[in-house]
């Protein structure tokens, strides 16, 4: 396992949905025990190529998320490794009891890809905009909960989870993200990554908030504040050791997430540090529902920008 961090993030044109389709195809080519499930959103995640190439390992169930999870549990009973995709809210809220009992409680295997993380749902609006999916997924005992930082990580994680048992919830945006890691990076689930080091405060971020955290770090540097940035792509189990290290090393921790501050990254960090002497501020959605708009507009509307992180640092340092 080794992560190679790019000194400066690169604007990439590789959409994560294409990474999903490509990687899924490669995995199925090698392992016919993998079955990919869709609920009439194949078009949105571009997996038609996988269906065409491996019709026997691909099921577009129709619009029935709860039944899809149940079907996945049955596939798992027979030793298959099901991957399923739908939009984040439908991958968690719409089928929560099925995930909880038929997969989690029954100790079966399912890899859930929840797309359109938070405000990236943009014009699909409030009904389709998950600010709670990580929280829900986290509440299932023994689940592993991940949010993807770029397409390099996504590809590696997809490969890794394909041979792991249990329930993994993988949150992603469908479009391209800035590339943070070199192509040959491999990631350790459960280990946070110090993306940039610093000594005054630490910004702990996931997903689209990583690039905001890096921008915030630059803004803070220009004011003489040194900030570390940690990519906490595994929200559960969270890297408590790294958190404690930076709680000691820096004076303030700030979490930044494209999710309700209740239930997701911010909550996980607070829980992990409950017994430590540390100050933690949370940047994220303040217990609100989503709405339609461009992603830029929504990031401002829900306080998900570099400036919001800077503000949280300066108010609390």
């Amino acid at each position: 396992m080794s992560v190679h961090i790019l000194d400066t993030a690169i604007q990439s044109s590789q959409e994560l949905r294409s990474t999903y389709a490509e990687t899924l195809g490669e995995l199925i080519a090698e392992n016919k025990k993998i079955v990919a499930l869709e609920a009439d959103l194949m078009g949105a995640i571009k997996t038609k190529s996988v269906q065409d190439a491996y019709p026997n390992n691909f099921v577009n169930c129709g619009i029935m998320e709860a039944n899809m999870v149940g079907v996945a549990s049955g596939l798992s009973v027979r030793g298959f490794t099901p991957f399923m995709h739908t939009f984040g809210p439908f991958a968690t809220r719409r089928c929560f009891d099925q995930l909880f009992l038929s997969i989690g409680y029954s100790k079966l295997t399912l890899k859930v890809i929840g797309s359109d993380a938070g405000v990236s749902a943009a014009h699909n609006g409030g009904t389709h905009m998950p600010f709670e999916d990580l929280g829900l997924a986290r509440l299932i005992p023994n689940s592993t909960v991940l949010e993807m930082s770029d397409h390099i990580m996504f590809k590696d994680i997809l490969k890794q989870v394909s041979s792991l048992p249990g329930l993994h919830y993988i949150r992603m945006v469908r479009k391209a993200m800035d590339q943070l890691y070199r192509e040959d990076s491999t990631f350790e689930i459960g280990k946070g990554i110090v993306l940039r080091d610093g000594s005054d405060c630490t910004i702990i971020a996931t997903g689209i908030m990583l690039i905001e955290a890096i921008k915030a770090r630059e803004l803070l540097a220009s004011e003489g504040i040194s900030a570390a940035v940690i990519d906490m792509f595994t929200i559960k189990p969270i890297d408590q050791k790294l958190l404690i290290e930076y709680a000691k090393k820096t004076k303030l921790l700030v979490t930044a997430e494209n999710h309700n501050i209740i239930g997701g990254l911010g909550s996980s960090v607070l829980e992990a540090l409950a017994l430590e002497q540390v100050r933690v501020a949370r940047v994220g959605v303040l217990d609100r529902f989503g709405q339609v708009g461009t992603q830029d507009f929504l990031q401002e509307e829900y306080n998900l920008t570099a400036l919001d992180i800077v503000k949280a640092v300066k108010e609390n340092l």
Binding site: E38, A44, K48, C61, I63, M64, G125
Partner: protein
Amino acid sequence: MSTFSNEIRLETLKMLKTRGFGHLGGSMSIVDTLAVLYRDIMKIDPSNPSWSERDYLVLSKGHAGPALYATLALKGYFDLSLLQTLNNNGTSLPSHCDRLLTPGIDMTTGSLGQGISSAVGIAKALKIENKPNRVFTIIGDGELDEGQCYEALMFSYHHKLDNLIVFVDENKLQLDGYTVDILDQKNITEKIASFGFHTVKVDGHNEEKIKEAIINAMNTKHVPSCIVLDTVKAKGVKAFEGDIGNHHIRFSKQQEIIIDEVIKQLEEALK
């Protein structure tokens, strides 16, 4: 096509074109039903959208919001110019219907399968209250994949909700393609009839037939009714009709020209 349905189609296309993308197919397939409901059937007061004596419409396939917004604007619930704000930042006309944002929208929908249950709940409430208001709900044929729809159907029959009319927009397509290829629903009309519903199938683009079916349904006592609408997805835009990719379109230059032409034709027809 009547004047009203032409107007709805025109306004729907104009708003989608302004925004540059949207759920064209499923909006266009329900226009004729909306025209009949809002012109001839529903007891409403556009100046008082929350009038408690009104009839209700729950657009369970909430992604077809644009067609309903156009209808509501034409009925005077709000100014036609508002239609041009579809999906703008801070808009009151979001891609999926929202009861808190838009005058005349009776229920928030967008997660398929949920609207029909809410409609059933409104119908049950009216029964408890002993009120004569009616409830109409429109669901998609793809939406029928959701098991919740069948729970709602069973509930409606058991509770004798004869104040409820369920429309199924059978346009034979869902997001990823033909419904028969993705999940074969077999015969929707027979299936829903077997739940105990008074069920008929009509040409969903023939307003006379739709109206007749609704009146018959309203006169049917003790059981809920279902009208299966035999429709063409994207009806009215020939180039997109029945096309597998017409669910949500982000218009290319060429497609914009197509839309412009249809807009021109509709404007001519309405002169």
